[in-house]
């Protein structure tokens, strides 16, 4: 049975009848379990192109389904449902609804890149997982993952100041992911830093926390980076037809 038909025999598609006679044949009870027909009519024929438009997904078209990525996968060893090969298959077939069934585990890729080194076609499955997770976020299927929040906090800071000030990164990351800053381990770490670090270094760190140091003459570079990021985001939004999605959503609300 081809992979794409497996969805037909999910538990919700199985039915039995207490009393049923068809053409004079008694088909009552679980000896005559029926598999309900399900017409797949929600193919997204652009799905592969959409994933390929996001960073990391560019080479997805190379896949020939050998399964090396899933075989090598760290997460698959713990959770059999985490199956990069299968998702690449669904994406290439355009089976969006099937893909969405796994939307809550796709982001769990730990980026160990074992698949990257196993793949005979250089599909770069780790990148495809990242692109797929971003696709789910940008299409509104999932909340932003913690790592996306971290990337954003990090990037915003670089664009603004040209420097990374760790305590600010931490504070913002914790706040955006809804975590309390005063975690026991954090308090312990700060205590030990206060005890163990040289006074001069502590002072500099303290100052940096307050004034947020900036790279000299950063504004031009900052503008250029921001322009590039905006350009890329716009391109991706177009590839993913995000504007149309928003429009449809508005019409749905109005109706």
């Amino acid at each position: 049975m081809p992979i794409h038909e497996k969805s037909l025999i999910r538990p919700e598609n199985l039915t039995t009848h207490e009393e049923l006679t068809l053409d004079g044949v008694d088909v009552s009870g679980h000896w005559s379990t029926f598999i309900e027909t399900r017409v797949v009519n929600d193919y997204n024929e652009n799905l592969q192109e959409e994933i390929a438009a996001l960073p990391g997904g560019e080479e997805i078209h190379r896949c020939w389904q050998c399964g090396s990525c899933t075989n090598a996968c760290t997460v698959n060893a713990i959770n059999e449902d985490f199956n990069p090969r299968y998702w690449i298959y669904l994406i290439r077939m355009g089976m969006e609804s099937e893909l969405l069934r796994d939307k809550d585990i796709i982001w769990q890729c730990v980026s160990c890149n074992k698949c990257t080194y196993a793949c005979p076609r250089d599909v770069f499955p780790e990148g495809v997982m990242k692109a797929t997770a971003h696709w789910l976020e940008r299409k509104g299927h999932t909340e932003k993952s913690p790592s996306t929040h971290f990337d954003e906090v990090f990037t915003e800071q670089i664009v603004k100041t040209g420097k990374i000030e760790e305590s600010r990164t931490m504070r913002r990351f914790f706040s955006r992911t809804g975590q309390a800053l005063a975690q026991p381990w954090m308090i312990e770490m700060v205590k030990r830093m206060l005890r163990g670090l040289p006074i001069g270094l502590l002072t500099r760190m303290g100052l940096a926390t307050l004034v947020a140091p900036k790279t000299n003459d950063w504004s031009k570079a900052s503008a250029a980076i921001q322009e590039y990021i905006d350009e890329q985001h716009e391109k991706q939004a177009q590839a993913l037809s995000l504007a149309e999605l928003v429009e449809t959503a508005k019409q749905d609300v109005a109706a």
Partner: protein, 347 residues
Amino acid sequence: MSKPVLIIGGGPAGLAAAHSLATVGKESVIVEKEDRLGGAPILSGYAKLVPTGEWAKDAIGGMVKRVEAESSVKVVTGTKVTDFDGSPGNFTAKLSNGDAVDAEAVIVCSGFTHFDSVNKPEWGFGTYEDVVTTTQVEQMISSGQGVRCPSDDRKPQRVAILLCVGSRDRQIGREWCSKICCTVSSNIAMEIREELPDCHVYIYYMDIRTFGLYETKYYWKSQEEFKVKYIKARIAEVTSDGEKLIVKGEDTLVKRPITIPFDMVVHAIGMDPNVDNPEISETLGIDLETHGFIDVANRYGAMGATSRPGVYVAGSATGPETIDDSIAQGHAAAMAVLSGARDLKTA
């Protein structure tokens, strides 16, 4: 017309070329680096050949005898060409034994090198004795010893054959399909099932490429008559629990992870460019194509023309090739040499 044709390499292609030339009374010199003629089928001890089922030592051995019986073919073994100069109709090759050969033209039949499985360490070759190559299984069969686990000589009850070892793999820079391994593997699988009917044979594949007429004779036959099991999965790793080899992978068609114990794992090794190709290319002044095989400059005119006029190439020196096609190319290259000679005369 007095100068002979120099044939580099005495495998199926070289033997065929020499035989063709002898047929029309043209002299040739075969320079073979190994100590005897026959090429890979003889030197690596192949068993029954595809598609005839004849033993290699009879089929290719017969070609060797036929050539050795020809008075117009001179055979020099244990020798390489070290230096080469001249133009079409008038080449001189210096040999590693100190001799020199004047030649009218050259046919390069230098063949290929078997992929060395050590370059895919995750599949256990070199770590576990019972992980072997298709070549080793051929030798087990052709020697009459039978298929046995090298570690303790027992008859295997479960054998896994892994396809595309050293083929179609960007990770190790080998992007080509070696063409013959699918067919050879299903042939070997049938041999094993015939010798050891209780032994289960599994073939793990990405695609099955038993091209042309081999589909029925090997792929279908091995499944339908010999019950060889084909599983679409590229294996992640071969390990051991101390007693058995453990093969891990995913059956991609049913989306199930697999961890299966085996007595023996066979690597269906691919065909690499001859390791000597850089040297051959340098010495003869001929180009290699991107994968490292010898480049064929003309596909529709002179058969097997290389980038250097008067130097021809045939067989698996040009890329992965079957024995039959190597032989055909050897004959055709001989014909190309003759027509090249006619062109020289009329010019």
